[in-house]
Symmetry: none
Subunit: 215 residues, 2 copies
Amino acid sequence: MRVAVADDSVLFRAGVVRVLTSAGHEVTAEVGDADQLLAHVAVAGPDVVVVDVRMPPTHTNEGLVAAERIHAEHPGTGVLVLSQAVEPSYAMNLLGAGAQGIGYLLKDRVLDLDEFVDSVRRVAAGGTAVDPEVIRQLISRQRGQHPLDALSAREREVLALMAEGRSNQSIFERLVLSPKTVEAHVRNIFAKLGLVEDEDDHRRVLAVLTYLSAG
Amino acid sequence: MRVAVADDSVLFRAGVVRVLTSAGHEVTAEVGDADQLLAHVAVAGPDVVVVDVRMPPTHTNEGLVAAERIHAEHPGTGVLVLSQAVEPSYAMNLLGAGAQGIGYLLKDRVLDLDEFVDSVRRVAAGGTAVDPEVIRQLISRQRGQHPLDALSAREREVLALMAEGRSNQSIFERLVLSPKTVEAHVRNIFAKLGLVEDEDDHRRVLAVLTYLSAG
DNA sequence: GATCAGATCAGGGCTGACCCTCATAGACCC
DNA sequence: GGGTCTATGAGGGTCAGCCCTGATCTGATC
């Protein structure tokens, strides 16, 4: 199996290369940006590429874009994408184009080197390798848009004020409501955001984080 | 040069090992947690250890604590700490104990493998290797730039977990403390962030917002 | 008409998270 | 020695914010 590795973190990249070469595979290139990867694939035609989602110059999705192009233009080349975190829209774009010869794994969830090598081999052979957490989040996402979409207008107002760090008292004074009404709205917010009562969670903070994550 | 490498990310660790062995150095151990590292150093006495700040079980600062112990108990062993992000209080603790045989580098800012190997060698020989960005932030910190700068290392850990939306219970279980200790830290956090008791404010949320605004 | 969702609010109950005071121990500095 | 800071933790107290149930009203839809 001939593999090209693209990641701008030189130590991480060295790790991937070491693992693959130790397992007897040939690494045809180790590069630090997407353009170099695309140029290499065009001439060398490796069996599979292992690509970090985020690479220079903007460190947002250059690696992913390159992966999509390679998948489209070189159908015989497998594409294994590595990401620090789940990025559902990226994963959907990549997997939505047909999941044969595609992998999407999370860097910090690669716990076993043999399994990692096996994933690379499977993708090279036209199979699929997707981290279960990625799948789980894709499924959650398909159930609707953003969690905040489920909130009524009033509930959004209340949540916006919560997200400013306001107490319930401040909120009911501001919106000229009774304390009980604000409590009812907060309860509805938790329910609609799927924040069940759990001893490990501070639900108000989680609701605020959800609000802030919507930008 | 004999090196021990400790990092729970198997791919990253493999990279460090590959880089060092390719440069002709001997890696005496590759371990995934701090206890294993301490046990190894006690019997094998490597020239230098390369340690990730965050390791199991709590993934907060076990690597750093181990590094400090090794530095104190094995003065002939260099200690190179690798971190994902600058953590000024950690860096200050480590470097404040005397910077000979100490290194503090940022994972994503290791751009050149030879330079990295050279840093390891320098630390093994009793020198210093500190990322310029770490130094820059230490200097900025001395100017008292951000409210979070006033927090102790432990307070920062507690606040980070609060900012994940965790309850006090989750925090004290995670950090293996008593409920009372977490309460004390939270109280200190509020005081240091200047969050006085006010009927309009939800102070926990405000503390989290302050944390998030620091990036 | 009936049904549903949203907005509003009351009564009553519980507890996690806050508060205060006090304490020990270790490290560091003068 | 004293003083300061950090980390840890106990005892005791309070209440904001959560919970539940129940209710009324309005507007939209069928």
